[in-house]
Subunit: 302 residues, 2 copies
């Protein structure tokens, strides 16, 4: 066993780690050349350029997760259907002309019942979490642009549900009429909790609560830090109202951006649900490692 | 009394009509120079250019409604507080160097209880509707980017509520990840009704229903006409769930874009609520006329 390369290639970013044969991280780099801005024929060149000096005489293996495996990515890695163990799904070889590199792409997960849903990238973070917590039985929540709630049992992903909460917050706070009323970075925690409680108990109110953020600024001079926290509280509140079956009476592990996870932790703890926050980058690396090792073991089977 | 000019000046567009002293429309024009793209010093020039050949020896009066009276407009026309008669509020003279033109801007409406809310432009359409239907007692709904539900009684606007339904539809269908799954113009009416019913009975489901539009296309090849109609049904359904106190057991008059009003009419009639659709442009003109005539009468009072 020699060094290998862990690759997290999403829509907006590319991150790579050089991993030694004992699991030590020897080096890491990142680039803004996400798959969203690249054509299929670009992928190999971008990756080779970023890791050129990590390549040696023989073939270096790379294991990649994320949107790179989507239909518009390097090569499509068809979704693995749940229930399944997220580190043990069939990876796909990416076409690679450079003889120094062999690239495998991990598939995302799909679900058809009770409702159609998909993920790409988060399954690898769940795999990493399960590598460190093999006996975990509960729910992993991955807050982000598209927040995922993932039911885990007996090392398998049993089911999941996606919420566009992060994307809605970005669109409403940056591109809607509300942008005038919630610029800046201020944050009023009491307003966050109030909006959260309000939406949890009355989710139908979302439509009218949104415009109130604008009207309250125009008429009452409401501060942007209040409006900003209220919008976040409303959208997370609506999400929690919808995802109740995922968190009620559960253990929740949160994986994602630290500040965003903290908001979810506060929101859930306010409902009496205990949470723990787990580092997202560590989980991605642990998941890529689990997939790499699983494949190694599989190749050595008699 | 001589000719006068009716002006509807919104964020994106400017429309003007030359009105004869008997109320006949003698001419009309429009321009894409909405207030959103203009600085305060531009307004007079833009209007004079558009109506130059309508101006004569004496002073021609113009009456304007819409976002032109916002803080970022020509001159701020402070909101009139409800309850009030929407055609009888104090207008503001816009600063005008050209001696041939005198411009008055109608104020929008504001409400502080039960919740802060504002409107600019729709109050003039409501005024026009009341000029034609002085005994109307019920609710006027004005679907649009920001849909307004307006409670009317004894010729007054008693209260109102704003929903960002149109803006949410535009953001989600054109700028979110859902844009990949609902392009085109197709429309599946059964899917609209199904999503509407679903959201009315379970508004907390909005968060997860949204991403399902994407997943159902990826996994099941759901047609864009179904996804498009479902998104509209969901958002109008969420609005109806929140605005229930405005439509339950009421007479509803719908004023706005004809195709959009038809969706609201179908949705409301599906809940057993009778509606009628009223032409938006006619109501704007009738409202500007009512305000013009009210001012004339007021000036002639002893």
């Amino acid at each position: 066993m020699s060094n290998w390369i862990a690759v997290d290639w999403g829509t907006s970013n590319l991150r790579v780690w050089l991993v030694g044969n004992d699991g030590t991280i020897l080096d890491n780099r990142s680039s803004d050349r996400g798959m969203g801005s690249l054509a299929p024929e670009d992928f190999e060149g971008v990756l080779v350029e970023l890791v050129a000096d990590w390549l040696g005489e023989g073939v270096t293996e790379a294991v990649a997760c994320g949107m790179i495996g989507a239909r518009q990515g390097w090569v499509e890695a068809p979704y693995a259907a749940v229930p399944c163990r997220p580190s043990q799904n069939q990876s796909i070889d990416a076409p690679c002309a450079d003889p120094r590199l062999s690239v495998r792409i991990l598939p995302g997960l799909s679900q058809t019942t009770p409702a159609p849903d998909v993920m790409r990238g988060e399954e690898t973070q769940v795999a990493g979490f399960l590598a460190a917590n093999p006996r975990f039985d509960g729910v992993v929540c991955l807050p982000g642009t598209h927040t995922k709630w993932v039911q885990v049992s007996a090392k398998e992903v049993v089911g999941f549900q996606t919420y566009m909460t992060g994307e809605m917050f970005a669109l409403l706070s940056k591109q809607s009429v509300l942008r005038h009323s919630l610029g800046g970075k201020e944050w009023d925690q009491a307003a966050f909790i109030e909006a959260l409680d309000d939406m949890l108990s009355h989710p139908a109110g979302l439509g009218t609560q949104l415009f109130k953020l604008r009207a309250a600024e125009l008429l009452l001079g409401q501060a942007s830090g209040i409006a900003r926290a209220k919008l976040s509280g409303m959208l997370i509140g609506l999400e929690l109202a919808g995802a109740r079956s995922f968190w009620l009476g559960q253990n929740i592990a949160l994986i994602g951006d630290a500040a965003l996870c903290k908001n979810y932790a506060v929101a859930l703890e306010h409902q009496g649900v205990p949470t723990r926050i787990v580092d997202a980058t560590e989980m991605t690396l642990a998941g890529l490692t689990a997939a790499y090792l699983h494949n190694k073991d599989a190749c050595h089977e008699p």
